[in-house]
Symmetry: C2
Subunit: 229 residues, 2 copies
């Protein structure tokens, strides 16, 4: 390896060594200072490169323990979670939206016990359908913490999905992806057959430990989430 011109060079060279097994799985690699000397650059430059490799799962780093090539690398895949309207427009389709219902209802079992919601007798329950070129695209079933959304907010014109993204930047949350079979109601909404397999994304969003919203997005048949790695 010639002299490294930048952290990308160091990154690529390190990746080459991992792949070529110059640095064997499970083995410890030279420390930053040595690599910097060898590659003719500053230690910070090596640090930047190795940090990047650690972030994507190619290396494991520990203070004092040094940097190692994992026996079995855990690859990471990143999906963009965009506003549904953008998702549809990015496919070159026209976004449509129909609010199906919006009312206060007793919290469902799964939510009643959530910390920060014990006091809430009822939650705002919003159901809506997103359309792509007038065809059903995604069913949005959402529970909102009424304490965090002004009661006057209407989701008739702008979906709760978009309103939330624009108005309540969140802090933490969880996301789960699964498959469900369409029941009669879903089949009618999404225009598919009962028992069709549908992709469902469930998201729980918190702001400082207080639940903001929980949503289930159920997509029409054949929908796929895709990403390049």
């Amino acid at each position: 390896m010639a002299r490294a011109r930048g952290w990308q060079d160091v990154h690529d060279e390190a990746l080459r060594r991992i792949r070529a097994r110059v640095w064997a799985p499970g083995a410890r690699i030279p420390d930053e200072a040595d690599l910097a000397t060898e590659l003719g650059c500053a230690r910070v430059t090596v640090n930047r490169a190795l940090r990047e490799l650690a972030r994507t799962g190619w290396l494991e780093r520990r203070r004092k323990g040094g940097t190692r090539v994992p026996l079995t690398p855990v690859r990471k895949a990143t999906f963009d979670i965009a506003i549904i309207r953008h998702e549809i427009e990015a496919r070159g389709a026209r976004h449509g939206y129909r609010l199906l219902s919006d009312r206060l209802e007793p919290a469902p079992d799964g939510l009643r016990a959530a910390p920060g919601l014990e006091g809430a007798a009822a939650l705002r329950h919003v159901r809506a359908l997103h359309l792509a070129d007038d065809r059903p695209y995604c069913f949005e079933d959402r529970w909102l913490n009424p304490a965090l959304v002004p009661p006057a907010t209407s989701f008739a014109a702008m979906s709760a999905n978009e309103w939330l993204v624009r108005n309540l930047a969140y802090t933490r949350g969880t996301l789960a992806v699964g498959a469900v079979a369409a029941d009669a109601a879903l089949a009618a909404l999404l225009g598919c057959a009962a028992r069709d397999a549908l992709l469902r994304i469930e998201r729980v969003t918190l702001a400082d430990r207080v639940p903001i919203t929980q949503v289930a997005l159920t997509y029409g048949p054949g929908h796929r989430m895709e990403t390049a790695t």
Copy 2:
């Protein structure tokens, strides 16, 4: 904001301002040098913090164009793609594995045209079942480029999934998640009812533009991919 002690402080303060709309959506924020002065730290420290926020979708940065708060932030969710055996063991279950078939077969239509495979008359087709505590967990249906896998390699004891991760660190690939209804064969393999909704992950893996493998992992009913953000 008091004096920033490190890039995390700058990161947090910036995030606070985004959330509090001190920096409004669509607006340009002060440049790095100004922020460094204001927060009493070096410009590189500000750079590190803002770079991180850009990576996670909270900011957009351009040379000369400056840094802006996106009108509609695109959040990113990261999933770990682990070896299936580890996935099962992480759930506290015992991993089992059954090789169902392994033979050379004509490439299916979707693959025949792939660049780098035009010459390959046949691909290695491996079908296997992963078990968690002796119950079907995931069906692995894989096509391998025979040029990249020694013919003597047996997938009877170690799954192709694990063999590949250990032996062919990949460069690029794509990943797609979708839902499929169980057909009779899948239902029999996974021990579920026909038409049950199943989560399917499809991955294409390339090394330097040459296809290594294409795999479809079909999970048992109720399986979810989860992540915290």
